[in-house]
């Protein structure tokens, strides 16, 4: 009797708790920021809210966003991948040169993506077996993959197969870019993979509490390697999307993208100390970056100001996240009063 009433009360409370926890999520705050920012921009320039412009905004973040899905997994596993920009270029260039050697365009594409996965596998294996920090290993891979890219192209752009150009340039269903659809599908799959599969829960366990994961019988090393394979594969897909957007695979493609990718994931609530992050958050983080860039263009503001503001957004998002976690209590008025006023 008592048990049922207690449980019933617990359930009732949990509905309120769910509402509160939704409000406290990073994604909710992020969505709010995007909406407010969008509203402000559209007050000044009504072009912002036009369908074409919105698709355009999304299209500019597709490449960064797709990799950010993988980076979120990597960050949750308490690792980092700095090599994604180079791996993106390597995948695209390999696909282009395989096609030029006479292969079927689809085969060329799959080979390119497989090269990305292979890079991830190499990184993961060295990180796990060699016990080197992933920061260092992927810094190495950043250089190795870029070097390979230059070797393959000899500095010349590779023409991408025209059969694949619909991936980067095509539009369906009344103007929705194909690349945006690919992005959204990958985000949904990523979120499901993270929260609904054994693999996703293993990634969370490994990054949150390595020791507990180990004693729980989770294959910690294999899980880490697989997260690197995942981000490598996604970097490969992003490479195909990027090169089909412009029609050629260049050796310089994706330079510096690793920073935008990490920014998107972190703005979305992923923690560099492992365990926490969501794919939806990374999606919104990438969108915020896109909206900011677009806003600066529509408002005709200096691109330098744009760069500056993106930097501030990254730091503000990380601070907001710390506050949400209750890690900023030492800055509360009460704590500060105690620290400075009780001096005798």
């Amino acid at each position: 009797m008592t048990a049922t009433t207690v449980t019933a009360r617990a359930r009732e409370r949990s509905v309120k708790d769910i509402a509160r926890s939704v409000l406290k999520r990073q994604e909710t705050g992020l969505l709010g920021v995007i909406i407010v920012l969008g509203a402000l921009v559209s007050l000044v320039n009504e072009n912002f809210l036009r369908k074409d412009n919105l698709y355009n905004v999304l299209q500019t973040v597709v490449v960064v966003g797709i990799i950010a899905v993988g980076q979120t997994f990597v960050l949750i596993a308490k690792e980092i991948d700095l090599s994604v920009g180079s791996v993106l270029a390597l995948s695209a260039v390999v696909a282009g040169s395989v096609y030029r050697s006479g292969a079927n365009p689809w085969v060329a594409m799959l080979v390119g993506i497989a090269v990305g996965a292979l890079c991830g596998f190499a990184v993961g294996s060295v990180v796990v077996l060699g016990r080197v920090s992933s920061f260092i290993v992927t810094l190495g891979m950043l250089s190795v993959a870029r070097g390979l890219t230059q070797l393959i192209t000899g500095g010349l752009p590779q023409t991408m197969p025209s059969e694949l150009s619909f991936i980067g340039q095509g539009r369906v269903l009344g103007g929705i870019p194909v690349s945006v659809i690919i992005f959204v599908v990958l985000v949904i799959l990523g979120q499901l993979l993270l929260t609904r599969t054994v693999f996703g829960l293993r990634v969370t366990a490994v990054g949150d509490n390595d020791a507990a994961a180990r004693t729980g019988g989770i294959p910690v090393g294999r899980t880490r390697i697989l997260t690197f394979v995942l981000i490598g594969t996604l970097a490969g897909i992003a490479g195909i999307v990027f090169s089909t957007q412009v029609g050629v695979a260049e050796a310089q493609a994706g330079m510096g993208y690793e920073l935008d990718v990490i920014a998107a994931a972190v703005i979305g609530g992923a923690s560099l100390s492992g365990g926490r992050g969501t794919i939806i958050g990374a999606f919104l983080g990438a969108c915020l970056l896109g909206v900011l860039r677009n806003a600066f263009i529509l408002l005709a503001l200096s691109p330098f100001l744009q760069q500056l503001s993106i930097g501030l957004v990254i730091v503000a998002a990380a601070l907001f996240d710390q506050g949400r976690q209750g890690n900023l209590r030492h800055l509360s008025p009460k704590a500060l009063r105690q620290r400075f006023l009780s001096r005798s």
């Binding site: 949990s14 054994v198 829960l201 004693t215 365990g275």
Partner: protein
Amino acid sequence: MDDATPAALAVAGLAKSFGPVKALRDVTLAFPAGQVTGLLGENGAGKSTLIRLCSGQMRPDTGRLLLDGKPVSFDTPLEAVAAGVVVVHQEPLLIGELTIADNLFLYDLGERPAYAPARRGENVARARQLLDRLGMTDYLPDPATLCRDLSAASRQMVDIVRALSRQPKVLFLDEPNSSLTHEESERLFAVVRRLRADGVAVVLVSHRLAEVFSIVDNVIVLRDGTFVAAGPPDEIDEKKAVALMAGERKRAVVAEVAADRRGPGDGAEVALQLTGLRGEGFTDVDFTVRRGEIVGMAGLVGAGRTEIAEAVVGLRGVTGGDIRVGGRRVRIPGPGRAQKLGIAYVAEERRTEVFHAQSVGYNLTVRILSTLGRFGWVSSRRTAAAARDLTKRFGVKTASTESPITSLSGGNQQKVLLARALAAKPKVLILDEPTRGVDVGTKAEIYATLRELAHTEGLAVWFISSELEEVVELADRVVVVRRGRVTLDAPNNAGPQPIVAAAMGSTEG
């Protein structure tokens, strides 16, 4: 052991060493099925090592495990769990970002393929059923709650429920109630009684003796890695258990050194006085350290001793009470201020205190660099001289002050830390576990140095130690902390027994 009840788990001739330290030597004992066995001993007696060896977290150097009479060996904790030997750890091993339900079925994540759906909704339903079956629904919030939002007691309970879900034959509870209130402990013990009725061998490690003795069928006492005694509680009662844990031979040591002990006398000036000090982990702490006096602080690991010391040197917040240094009320916001007030602190973990990549000389002088030069420049000549002087004064055995600190033995590194703290010529020296992992000879040298500084220069020494022998041997006065409060403050002349009794909260002894 009673032959009528079969032993669920028995160990024979079990031994384990870590380097030169023998953590467990030739231990033979049994945990009978359908009984609750209390495993008792001080810190360092070998309880944790024994549990690790029994549960596959470590392999023994020699000796055998027998489960239901058959020899077994476990390479991993998972193998032990599969065989029915389950441990509930003092620090619950949970994934904070997953729900209670996911944590309860964490082993599934290792056993099922990576591509399989996680069945989290199903997990919640299974968790509710499991809690219902165990009659523990009211003990925990809804299983869909994230573990990071749970209280310490609830986290412990999740770990316990997870252990029970594996249908153990042998269940080790390693200080399961250290973070639980009395009421929560009672709930836990109700579960333990039911397990006993189901024929499980329950092994309970706890420092709350009164509670242990309210439930156990058997008591096993370990001391210094050896088996001391076993028997039912009417043979080994609480008082006798305390005596067995403390050990009789320590009394002989006391008699020897007591003659050498010259306290400072009541008239000595008070160097450091704490009045009603409160903070996270301790409350209403009152005690004083006089000039020339060596105060030994004893208590269990986690009792709040380190927290008090850290609060005094400003590493931790103080929420109430006074700190007086030389009679003057002071506020210490950080270790820099503490050093200016003449308080030096040597923290517990040598690994985190030493600058590993640097030389012996750097490690010795790093805190006094501002006195070895001017305008922010450091005189290398004066630094080298100071380092050489310190190595000589404190007998640090090193080839040169330029040698890397890592080339020194643990004992010599400890001397370097001591010398570094004393280089600033403090009036009060606070030491946390000053001789952990230090060999016997160096220990004696450190003791001699501390005594001499106290008795000739009037240095006030406050050391924290979990080694009872050390407290009994070195201290002029003993302060015992239990669960954040001072439970004993007395001259060190009564041997180890009152210290153990005060530390364990035993009413007898």
